[in-house]
Assembly symmetry: C2
Homo-oligomer: 267 residues x 2
């Protein structure tokens, strides 16, 4: 997607392989993604190869939004339904599923609403969310960010800061996507200041770190945020689709399932 | 499979990546496989990581052999049936399908017998095979080699030399597998003299090259032989399962289908 010039493609491939051979394997995968996309940018000058795809995902999600909003409003348990949809939205990930189409997303949402979330985790989330004074909601992908809006509306938006990446990286949501999703109209938007497709605190801006420290609840969407925040000593709820076998095994959820998992939360 | 020592695994991974970054991308894939397995051998000293798997595949194929032999003998067209089974046997490829089980193989054979091969190619093969004085049959994988025996029996074995790889490489058949399959009892066995999982003539032994030049028909099993012989100016019938999208597109057969394709053959 970054270039159709096959000589540049070969150069990127060779440089990415050479880089991979020297990587620190103890770092989480989002570091590796950042390194690889830096190679792409340096060699072909394209700093946002997923731009069109991100646009398409936002448009698609926005077209589904009005129906989903009605569905949440009519639901007997709007917090549960919007949580399910926010997690289902994490399937919109062209970094993992490059050939995802509208039908997949429709099916994913329908399945998500029918499938129950682990009740004890959902209860803990309900309690933590009702008690929190300041919530930092860390988004993941373009498109998905539109579905996050449904959950945010159920959480008293004035408490919430929504975080995006500091620079374009893969299909991760940036400020531009937050604008398009209409999120900036009712929550404060912050960016990480970093181009890592996850949240590595010592690489984030001072503002972001302050916001993280002040929050008494963090909601972190997607595998990238899980892979970089899972060892933090903080009240965090991870919400994602378990997309790769390594993460799936680590968290003890079957591959493909909807994950809601609190860490650092009082039982 | 080559080692359970994770430090060695990491060393192999790094060295393989570094090597890949420097590869000549114009060489066919079997060259790359040879380079990678050389890294494995050099780092952990295991020159035959697929040894157990090859043994298991041979045993499995031998257990199926008596029934398949009856099936060929009772068939109205034994040459066609044995050709189908020889091609189906190419599914036994743990280099591609590491989790293949007995049921997959049973199903593959049943499907193969039900599915027709392209008639014009089969007719050309029939004619070429009936006219050939010397046939070089180049095998591919352990296990599969047992199924080749059924086709060889239909081709007047005294004309045939059966070729295996010169050294263990992935799950490719070597002299040891030809012995186990019982092939050495009724055809001459030759090895390529090379550890490439394919047939690169300028890397083969003098004996092999002589045998190749003397043959007026070559039967070449599997993708590795196709990828290395497809540009040769020689009467060759390629027989394989189309296992990867690149080969499938190159030959114009759907992915997963049974391929019989003659090159350099008079129409």
């Amino acid at each position: 997607m970054a270039t159709e010039d096959s000589a540049l493609q070969e150069e990127i491939l060779r440089e990415a392989m050479a880089l991979t051979s020297r990587l620190d394997f103890s770092k989480p995968p989002p570091f590796i993604a950042r390194e690889i996309y830096t190679v792409v940018r340096n060699i072909c000058g394209n700093s946002d190869p997923f731009k069109k795809i991100k646009h398409r995902c936002n448009e698609l999600a926005l077209s589904l939004y009005p129906d989903l909003e009605k569905l949440v409003d009519k639901s007997p348990d709007p917090l549960l339904t919007s949580t399910k949809i926010a997690i289902a939205g994490n399937i919109i990930d062209f970094g993992v599923n490059s050939d995802l189409d509208n039908n997949d997303i429709h099916r994913s949402i329908e399945d998500a609403i029918k499938t129950s979330l682990p009740e004890s985790e959902m209860e803990r989330f309900r309690r933590s969310a009702s008690q929190a004074r300041k919530i930092l909601y860390i988004g993941d992908n373009a498109g998905e960010i539109v579905f996050d809006k449904l959950l945010i509306k159920q959480l008293l938006p004035q408490r919430i800061t929504y975080a995006v990446r500091g620079f374009p990286i893969i299909n991760d949501a940036t400020r531009e996507d937050a604008e398009k999703a209409g999120l900036s109209n009712f929550v404060k938007i912050i960016d990480s200041g970093s181009d890592i497709p996850g949240t590595v605190l010592d690489q984030c801006s001072r503002d972001f770190i302050d916001c993280y420290n002040e929050a008494d609840l963090v909601i972190a969407k997607g595998q990238g945020n899980y892979e970089t925040l899972n060892d933090e000593n903080k009240q965090i709820f991870f919400m994602m689709k378990a997309k790769c076998p390594v993460v799936s095994e680590d968290i003890g959820y079957p591959l493909g399932s909807a994950v809601i998992m609190g860490v650092g939360i009082d039982k």
